[in-house]
Amino acid sequence: MRKYSLVLLLFVLVAGIDKAFGQTTISGKVFSKKDPVPGASITIKDTYDGTTTDSSGNFRFTTSEKGDQLILVTAVGFRPFEQRITLGSQPVSLDINMKEEVTELNAVIVSAGTFEAGDKKRAAVLSSLDVATTAGSNADITAALKTLPGTQQVGEQEGLFVRGGAGYETKQYIDGNLVNNPYFSGSPDIATRGRFSPFLFKGTVFSTGGYSALYGQALSSVLLLESIDLPERSEIDASISPIIVGAGTQQLAKNKKWSYGVTYNYVNVGLYFAAVKQTPDYFRMPEFHEATANFRIKTKGGGMIKYYTTVSLSDLGLRNVDIDSSHLKDAFSLKNRNWYNNLSYRENIGAGWKMTLGASFSTNLDKIGQQVQDQNNQPKQFSPQTFWMNAKNFKLENLQNLTLGRAVFEKRLGGLSALRFGGEYWHVDYRPKYNDTLFKQIDNYAAAFTEASIYLSKELAAQVGVRFEHSSLINKSDIAPRVSLAYKTGKNSQVSVAWGIFYQKPETQQLYYAPTSVGFTRATHYILNYQKIYNQRTLRIEGYYKKYEDLIKQVPVGYNFYSYNNSGNGNAKGVDLFFRDKKTIKEFDYWVSYSYIDTKRNYLNYPVSMQPNFVANHTASIVTKKFFTKLKTGFNLTYSWASGRPYYNIRPDVNNKFYVADQGKTRAYNSMSFSGEWVPSLGKANAKSFIVLFASVSNILGQKQVYGYNYSFSGATKSEINPPAKRFYFIGCFISWGVDRTQDAINNNL
């Protein structure tokens, strides 16, 4: 009893003291750039006293604290604010101006020219899964990217033809390291797939121009692939189809600090070609062996070491009708051996510094045999008078090695601003052997680069960079500046501009005889971009002007023998539109791309400035995806269209000057492709195996596709370049054994 009276006494006492000194009222307004900040928390540090601002940013509370105190104001999206105050008997009035916090979530993105893809990126246009489920792509990254604006529907050779640029003007990088032979070796007039599966990568940046100074040697475009870190689970995979059988495993350590994996695939199209007739006569069925291995280690400092290697061997042989004489055939055979290695190490080295080191080695050998054969498939020899026929009997052993090292350092400068610099070194060793003549070509290429990303506010950002390059083979240097600016025009919309100069070394075959007589080719990009991303809808409009200078011109010296100089030039201008909507119709996702381009160039053997034969003025794609959960089935449909492309027969006249002997325009390109996936194990809780059945048909309607024309030596006959078959069918079954996290995630959260 006495105890409680004492407590009571104490309370009275305390209350008395409170009364004696009185309470102080603190009031005011919290704002940022004149806008009120509602929901901000105001506290006297280390006390319970405080309040939250109302919808007009006003606040008011009382406190019994006295003397020097610290007022702390916090609100989501703003930097914490602190102010010292002295509390006496007078009410305190505070006007608090808060600074916005610049984060990746609210800041403007320097996006001119860039399509970002990835699972977590806010600006992502395509995710890795999107690549796999785009009908017509058959899980080939390049094919899926061809549904984006700015690219051409070129089917007669591999590569991404971006904004009036040839395929070799686009370079691919994996974890920052250049990839030398990103596509499988193939036969003439048939585009091949990329060597790398989309599932190897967590992020993809496809730049259609104005790309960062961290990359170089591509006049038009870069494709930056970022490999995944540790896998989410251990599993064993198998795939089976009439074309491909494969098996692999991915093992994740129990402590989730490291993983390794191996895969093997065998591709043989013999069965398929027996069922689906191909135009060429395959005398050696295309056959591929492909093995990959990888390891990934998470370092103590939170960094990653990643190694990936792939070895592939392929073999094929096919005959086509010889264009110069209807009773002869051209037999082409190819054996390819490719070994690719990529090692990367990224680490946070403290004090806001990040380091990325990379090394890569690749070797690629193509053994090509080309032979004219008679009706009985026997080799046919020609007299020296028919030199154009003789030129069709040859052997080529093309060995290409690339060894490179790269280092990039990044320093965070507060907020999102950062300074990056580094360098890279490529040792290029090419040894093509034509019949018995060896041409050796060694280039030591070195580059140094620096780039600053500066966020002046969350509305305004700039990226300024410069790149210095030197090639020992041509013995030339260049300096390539790049600038991008981005300004946020609304909560979800932004405008960005980019300007930059891009250099590229001439192609290998142009450098055999007098490499130092030519210099870098050059392109200048000007880009204006508007982008709005809101509520799962993306709208992107981009206009550009591209100026080509110092392009390579060829001067005829003899039949199929030229000298080269840098007197070529050209330009390209156009508009790219992209719209994607995942929202309007439930479980239905679609995107629409349209590009218009006006381009001319005077290069190689073009006698005047002309529209290149790989460019259509209008291209458009509609990609749709629909998943029916009840049926556990997804259907995907893609329609691609391009206006006709010009074609030319360019030949030297009697004075050894090129002229256009014949020209025309191909029919428009149309292709509708379909794919479907059935996932029967979807929904079986804790299923031990996960099965996907996949089927696809490219060009379902069998529309005739003409990519261009080949001309006979005399120019009297021309023949269409068509795909080897009208349609391509694929059916396959993919099984993985292991605990499937995707499955769990669906089960628990949808």
Partner: protein, 214 residues
């Protein structure tokens, strides 16, 4: 004797001061926990979260204020009026970080993980098709980890039931699958004897869900 009375007095007043301090904490917590029932709008819950965070920052050794601050924000996060789920989740996770650095027992950590589960679920629901691989997995991992730490926490089963309930039957969810989980939750709620100020929410909701599963 005089000395003894003085000592006794001193001891009593010291105890009283300590009592007063913890009483202030308990009283503040009680008062604000009561506000959970009257709060309606996202603004109300943000205000409540701010208050709890203030108490947590002042106390420094109590994880519950941070937990409740996070819980208030997840409650706001279910409302369509709160549009920026990512920013909200970032703040919730920061509060959970603070709570976890103080919480000592596995049971306490399991409670905090349940808040993380809800935050990640809210982020996933922004765009389930493209986000279930990332945020869906995060949510699931939080729940799995929590169940390992405290297999008898009824709220974890309530949350598991909710996710099963929201998952189409074709994906292994549905009412039939959710019902036994809700029933298990209710059973555990009946056995649970939460300490003062400790979380006790969810029983009514779980019972209502069983009715919806009929």
């Amino acid at each position: 004797m005089k000395k003894f009375i003085f000592l006794l007095l001193a001891a009593v007043s010291l105890q009283a001061a300590a009592f007063a301090q913890s009483d202030k904490y308990a009283a503040t917590m009680q008062k604000n926990l009561a506000l959970f029932d009257s709060a309606k709008t996202a603004e109300d819950f943000t205000k409540l979260a701010n208050t709890f965070e203030r108490v947590g920052d002042a106390e420094k050794t109590q994880w519950l204020p941070y937990y409740y601050a996070g819980l208030a924000l997840t409650t706001a996060g279910w409302m369509p009026t709160l549009t920026d789920k990512d920013a909200n989740a970032t703040r919730i996770n920061a509060l959970c970080d603070k709570a976890e650095s103080i919480a000592k027992t596995d049971a306490d950590k399991a409670e905090i993980l349940s808040v993380r589960n809800m935050a990640a679920t809210q982020q996933m629901l922004v765009d389930p098709q493209s986000r279930y691989m990332s945020y869906g997995a995060t949510a699931n991992q939080a729940l799995e980890k929590a169940m390992k730490l405290d297999p008898n926490n009824p709220r974890l089963y309530y949350l598991q039931g909710m996710s099963l309930f929201g998952t189409p039957e074709q994906f292994g969810g549905g009412k039939a699958k959710a019902k036994p989980v809700f029933e298990k939750a209710v059973e555990l709620y009946k056995q649970a004897k939460p300490k003062d100020l400790y979380p006790r929410w969810g029983q009514q909701q779980a019972e209502d869900m069983i009715k919806q599963c009929q």
